[in-house]
């Protein structure tokens, strides 16, 4: 039986464990064995993106060491963490002939969850059922950094009973950006406001994302504004039967 490693990422691990479970269930239903390396922590993206490379480097080395001990593809429920490994790691080790090949070897094994389903397994129909309207927000790092857009859209198109509507200005950032959302709260708030306005325009009660950062940010904004729309990770939609 083929097997994959699940790199759960810190946000899903700490805030959205049900998303992680959904991923495990979806993959297992497809006959994939899912391993979880217990020593994994974080991919290193938060300090790296903030410019704190000295802090990021040991975390990244830790992640490389942990996953070097494993085999198989590595699946992540986050385009930005996958992007970090594929693009951030080589940037971090650009001048390090020892670590660079190790970082690149790891990057070659990494897939974002929907990318893995569609591009690697060739699956676009998981037999999922959803009663109601859905709209999709493409996360920036998945969309522009990893060119992942048709994969989640193809998966959603095959969800039975679901009516998929287009989110106006879907490709605009929601304003999360990691530490940006606390460093520049006013800017982040404006972008979030636009995203929520567009969600309202779509008239969809449910917003689907592939990234826990966007989920946490948009859902937090909706709750603050006392709105009823919900934000869900795509894995949980795909895991419905």
């Amino acid at each position: 039986m083929p097997h994959v490693q699940l790199f759960i990422t810190c946000l899903v691990d700490s805030f959205y464990p049900q998303t992680g479970e959904a991923i495990v269930e979806v993959l297992r239903r497809l006959g994939i064995d899912v391993d979880f390396a217990r020593d994994q922590t974080c991919c290193g993206q938060p300090p790296f993106n903030a410019g704190l490379r000295a802090e990021a480097r040991p975390i990244v080395e830790h992640a490389i060491k942990v996953f070097e001990k494993t085999t198989g593809d590595i699946v992540m429920p986050s385009g930005s963490c996958a992007h970090m490994i594929k693009h951030g790691y080589p940037e971090l080790f650009a001048d390090d002939p020892d670590w660079l090949p190790r970082a690149q070897a790891l990057g070659n094994r990494v897939y974002e969850f929907t990318e893995y389903l569609v591009d690697k397994l060739g699956v676009t129909d998981l037999g999922a059922q959803w009663d109601g309207t859905l709209t999709y927000h493409p996360s920036c790092h998945a969309l522009r950094g990893m060119k992942i857009d048709r994969q989640p859209r193809a998966l959603l198109a095959n969800v039975r009973g679901a009516q998929i509507v287009e989110l106006p200005n879907a490709e605009d950032c929601c304003g999360f950006g990691g530490i940006f959302s606390v460093e520049h709260p006013e800017l982040s708030a404006e972008e979030l406001k636009r995203k929520i306005d567009n969600l309202e325009k779509s008239k969809s009660p449910t917003l689907v994302v592939t990234e826990a950062g966007c989920l946490m940010h948009i859902a937090g904004g909706l709750h603050r504004q006392k709105k009823n729309q919900r934000v869900m990770h795509i894995a949980e939609i795909l895991n419905t039967q």
């Binding site: 490379r53 802090e55 129909d125 959302s181």
Partner: protein, 677 residues
């Protein structure tokens, strides 16, 4: 600028309702126009990659190409200078200007109309007419010249407006982006003494009248350069209003200040860049005036000043890729942060994503905090016509790589709290045990903070709490649940089926419509930019009829274009000398471009400028055999002239509220008389 000051500038911009409206208009109009314009090039994605490679090769071997450019320009009769920094550039300009033969006498004669703002400039001072140039802003040239008692007038409509307001441009392409028409109406009322109006054509026409006099009497014209062509020793300047053409051809001295990274290898590379630059900047297939200037005209001095000002340092730094920039402004128009705060908030002449990289690289570490004002969403990279990896460069600036010193200050612009939090977090993430413990601790704390809700309302000062609530940590993390539920899951029936793979068929973008015949294509494109085509077998007769229909009996004429006997018979007189009363100029176009509706004209001897630039109406005779498919097929023709210009429709501006307004400094009507040969 420290982070506190930046934050306060951001808040000020957000609170400015007028600015917010102006920025929304800009973002909506510019982004759509850019995308539509690029889609007219079926291979634009591939061109973008080629443009990246061409620019990267240039920056890699810049020194050699600079030598080649300087050598070639000297052979062309241009005086070439090198300036290592802003002070040197200013000094060179001052030396040139002080030696200039002044045209004060002619200015005195021209004191016919009187505009309040200009009444003082017709005195004894040296008068400089400037076309929009970011690099002159970068070295603060106007300030230095004015300190020496020299009068400088910005002639681009947007720059003219911000200069009258005593401001800096807020965008590198549309300097007055931050203003509404009402602001301009009030400004012109107060400074130019006209009646208040919100009518954009009236405002534009006022600027035309005021600045016409400046062009005709200026001692020196100063411009930047969009590109400099190494093999040719020529520069390329793209403008829409016609002011660039005026200041490079009318004053007895022209000075171009050129950033050394503006170089391209040859005319082919230039054609490639020109297929991307106007589309990305303004959504035009070609700007109205695309000048390629090789030599000084008769009785004219031309100076090229090659400016380094930190570019060599940038070239040797990890921010090198930023030198690929061709200054189109597309990254600003696409940036969700720029859209909220506009250019002035950045407090640098180069704002937006590219500005947040190069300001730190060129001007120093006080600009590093700008790079933190980005969610790294990557819209800038996608919009960039030369595919500069701006998010990557922004992260490098944050990591202190803009600095030369060995000891880098990482996390520049971060608040102390964020820095502390990230350092703590990084420590925990190093150890699986500590990481798990901190998750437990956070879960417990968040449960205490918010026992009855899944949400925690953090105070605004935390940043997060400013506009959103924070989710409670999960009671059990995924890693805990995974261990516990492993057996449960394996008991579950693993439905292997239900895997019908339905491969989606994605809509391919529609192929471009069949190529039109070149005459039809030329006509369609020229009409699209508000120009007119008249098909004729007898151009002299058709033009006489056109003039009679307009009641015009005096014209400027390029020698040898029309049958002068026929004109005389029709009672039409011809003037070869400039005359502001004449409304029509007639020229022969060297060639036409089918895919943009452009015509090529030469400036200089035998090709009187006053025929194709000064009058309100420009009539050009073009033979159909001289229509080329595209710029890249015809750009070499510029080589045979001292100064050539591809004209794409009537003179125009979008400087007030991005509203397309026809007829600025050049003709407001362009008619091409197509002769089938």
């Amino acid at each position: 600028m420290n982070n506190t000051e930046f934050r306060s500038r951001i808040r000020k911009s957000l609170a400015n309702q007028h600015l917010q409206i102006a920025l929304d208009i800009n973002a909506e109009r510019r982004v759509t126009r850019r995308i539509n314009a690029l889609e007219t090039l079926p291979d634009w994605r591939e061109r973008r990659q080629r443009a990246h490679a061409v620019r990267a090769e240039m920056i890699e071997h810049l020194d050699g190409y600079l030598e080649q450019f300087a050598e070639k320009a000297k052979q062309n009769g241009v005086i070439v200078h090198r300036a290592k920094d802003a002070a040197e550039a200013v000094k060179i300009v001052l030396e040139i200007v002080k030696d200039s033969p002044q045209r004060r006498e002619s200015r005195k004669e021209n004191q016919k109309e009187s505009f309040a703002a200009l009444s003082t400039l017709r005195g004894e001072k040296v008068l400089i007419a400037k076309s929009k140039s970011m690099v002159t802003e970068e070295v603060n040239l106007n300030h230095a010249l004015e300190a020496e008692g020299i009068r400088v007038i910005e002639t681009d409509l947007g720059e003219f407006i911000v200069q009258l307001r005593g401001e800096k441009p807020s965008h590198i392409i549309t300097p007055a982006l931050h203003l509404r028409r009402q602001d301009v109406g009030e400004l012109f009322r107060d400074k130019l003494g006209i009646e208040y109006t919100e009518d954009i054509p009236t405002l534009t026409n006022t600027a035309r009248k005021v600045l016409r006099e400046v062009f005709l009497t200026a001692d020196v014209g100063i411009t930047g350069a969009n590109f400099a062509v190494a093999e040719e020793g020529a520069i390329c300047l793209v403008t829409n209003e016609g002011n660039g053409r005026m200041v490079t051809t009318i004053p007895p001295i022209h000075i171009a200040l050129i950033g050394i990274e503006r170089l391209v290898r040859n005319l082919d590379d230039l054609a490639l860049m020109l297929s991307l630059l106007p589309r990305s900047a303004t959504g035009q297939k070609l700007s109205v005036y695309t000048q390629i200037i090789h030599k000084p005209l008769a009785n004219q001095q031309r100076h090229f000043i090659l400016l380094d000002n930190g570019r060599s340092r940038l070239r040797n730094s990890p921010l090198k890729e930023s030198l690929l920039c061709i200054r189109c402004g597309a990254c600003m128009n696409a940036c969700p942060v720029f859209r909220e705060i506009g250019g002035h908030a950045y407090n640098s002449i180069y704002p937006g994503p590219i500005g947040s990289v190069i300001s730190a690289g060129l001007f120093g570490s006080e600009f590093v905090p700008l790079a933190q004002a980005s969610s790294l969403c990557g819209a800038c990279k996608d919009a960039c016509p030369v595919d500069i990896d701006l998010p990557k460069l922004l992260v490098r600036v944050r990591a202190g790589e803009a600095k030369e010193e060995k000891r880098k200050e990482e996390g520049g612009g971060l608040s102390l709290t964020s820095r502390f939090f990230l350092k703590m977090y990084s420590r925990f993430a190093l150890s699986p045990r500590l990481f798990t413990l901190s998750q437990k601790f956070a879960a417990l704390t968040s449960l205490i903070l918010s026992s009855f809700s899944r949400w925690i309302r953090l105070p605004a000062f935390t940043g997060w709490g400013y506009s959103k609530d924070f989710p409670r940590f999960a009671g059990k993390t995924f890693r805990e649940r995974f261990v516990e539920s492993d057996s449960l899951l394996s008991d579950r029936q693993r439905t292997e089926n239900n895997r019908a793979v339905r491969n989606m068929v994605y809509e391919n973008t529609q192929e471009q419509a069949l190529a039109l015949h070149k005459v039809e294509r030329f006509t369609k494109e020229l009409n699209a930019v508000h120009g007119h085509v008249h098909k004729t077998e007898k151009p002299s007769q058709s033009i006489v009829e056109f003039l009679q229909s307009r009641g015009i009996n005096r014209i400027h004429l390029e020698p040898g274009v029309l049958d002068e006997d026929a004109l005389a018979k029709a009672g039409i007189t011809v003037s070869y000398a400039p005359d502001p009363a004449i409304r029509v100029g007639v020229t022969q176009a060297i060639c036409g471009l089918a895919d943009t509706g452009s015509i090529l004209e030469a400036d200089g001897e035998g090709n009187p400028l006053h025929a194709s630039l000064l009058p309100e109406i420009h009539l050009a005779v073009l033979f159909t055999s001289r229509i080329y498919p595209s710029l890249e097929n015809a750009i070499h023709l510029a080589r045979d002239t001292k100064s050539a210009v591809f004209i794409t429709g009537p003179s125009a501006t979008g400087d007030i509220e991005s509203v397309h307004t026809i007829g600025v400094h050049g003709p407001g009507e362009v008619h091409v008389f197509l002769v089938d040969d």
